[in-house]
Symmetry: C2
Subunit: 316 residues, 2 copies
């Protein structure tokens, strides 16, 4: 079982419109809502890849009820901590001209007691997991070392971890020595000020991350690990919905921590899942055809230079 | 007690943004949600005008729960019929440049059994009311004569009624002889094909309406009644949020059915409530200062011509 922890669970509400015109009244053609937040999308992809999953996170209010109900309806097992605040929604206005306009709610504040309760669930459920994924932003009111503390709890029990967040939560989080971090190139540049993703990945490893896998959008992935460094690229460009691509990469990397497959195989799997996510209409889904093609066709090449190793040797 | 019946109750969700840019990601500065639908706004204004109210309507799902909770929090008494579908939301994106972009969900379908249950509540609660207001659109699945049947039930018990809807629901509704109908000029022109609001108002009376009060936006009201015809105008233009202006007019007209005040006084009250609603930031609120000023300052003048009377003489 792989556990995904999403501190900031959301209800993703998608409206279909003919066209969005500011300052006008629109009649939505359809409305669709489902549980969201990065960790939920990671869990959806993990299940498609054949793993058992457990969704862990914080929910509250009527929106929290709707999140819980959708996880049940989707058959995604969960252990959720009830909070006093109202869970956040994201609103997507998708129009026939291909535009997607997003409105993100700030999300509820989380009390210390509620965060401590989440820590207990992470310790208990994470302790009997094959890997634990921490994904998404921290909610308002949670200290920047929120993920770091959770990672430390799980890491102390020898369970491998993946961290996918940004900003201060990432900077503080890597200090707890997660096995894999997966920033995208912009998040990485913003955090490290590094001139390129490879240098940025090295900075994250110096700060404590075992391996750093940087997503480069349609150009694929860059991985810097104890075992070497690689560039992985899809065989062809896929047009579609990029929203869930990063979550699909995280799912594949978490799976790799469980299978202990060689890094080139993990990266091929990650590129395939990412391309298949872009080709699927909704975040968390995979397009089977793209997935199977890219698993065979994605290119992975080793990068020269042994200077990547930071010598601790403890990370997988 | 004045009962307001809102078949299509809603949860009004308002996001504050810096600026809405299609195809971009936005972080909402704030989110506010409250029970909505025309009848709820009418009830809010009625309460401000000093009347006891009862909100009657259909709610369902988690959104229905949120509507119910907000009515409770607002201290608005209600008798709601639970339906199998999920209540609709309206989403308003309000930006600092003064733009308001609205997205309306289509709303849940309503089963015959659920509509019949609403009819029972309307009969029971409406029968002991001083007046009943029917406001807003009919939900999907309800026949065009939905309001007509409800009005007939209440009218049979001698309780006066106000109807504020549009299209086929209005055309069929007037046949049940509501005491007052309040279309706006566009709804009226669309329905009757009449060249002007006065002619359109006469058509509605010919179809069965006791009195027709046409809202002309910032220009005020036109009333055609058994007792004569009037134009009522605010003393000055008010800038602000016009969303709840029509609901404020309906509230004042319903109050007039209870007090039996002379029509010019009712219209002055309606113009004052409308201006005060425009000056208030949220639909259902009234700006006290504007309200009191316009009650004294609004101009009402009788229109020549006795041809308005359609001779049945039974309506107030």
């Amino acid at each position: 079982m792989i556990t995904t922890v999403t501190a900031n669970l959301a209800l993703d509400v998608t409206y279909r419109l003919d066209r969005l015109t500011p300052d006008r009244v629109h009649r939505a053609r359809s409305v669709r809502q489902r549980a969201g937040g990065k960790g939920v999308n990671v869990a959806r992809v993990l299940r498609r890849l054949g793993y058992e999953t457990r969704v862990v996170g914080l929910v509250g209010g009527a929106t929290g009820e709707a999140i819980r109900a959708d996880l049940d309806a989707a058959g995604l097992p969960h252990e959720l901590v009830e909070i006093g605040g109202e869970s956040r929604r994201t609103v997507a206005l998708v129009s026939d001209d291909g535009q997607a306009t997003l409105i993100n709610e700030p999300g509820p504040g989380v009390a210390d007691r509620e965060w401590a309760e989440l820590g207990e669930v992470v310790r208990r459920v994470g302790g009997r997991s094959a890997a634990v994924v921490f994904a998404g932003s921290l909610p308002p009111g949670v200290a920047d070392d929120g993920y770091a503390r959770l990672i430390a709890r799980v890491g102390a029990r020898g369970v491998p971890t993946v961290l996918d967040t940004s900003g201060a939560a990432l900077r503080r989080g890597v200090a707890a020595r997660p096995d894999v971090v997966k920033p995208n190139a912009e998040e990485l540049a913003e955090l490290t000020g590094a001139v390129g993703p490879r240098e940025g990945a090295r900075v994250l490893r110096d700060l404590g991350a075992g391996s750093a896998v940087v997503s480069l959008g349609g150009a694929g992935l860059l991985a810097v690990t104890d075992a070497g460094s690689w560039r992985a690229e899809p065989s062809r460009q896929v047009s579609g919905n990029p929203t869930g691509a990063g979550d699909a990469v995280v799912a594949a990397l978490a799976g790799g921590l469980v299978t202990r497959a060689p890094w080139p195989d993990r990266l091929r799997e990650a590129v395939a899942a990412s391309a298949a996510a872009v080709a699927a209409p909704v975040a968390g889904d995979l397009d089977e055809q793209h997935y199977h093609r890219e698993r065979g066709a994605a290119r992975v090449r080793a990068l020269a230079g042994q200077e990547e190793s930071h010598g601790t040797g403890s990370h997988g």
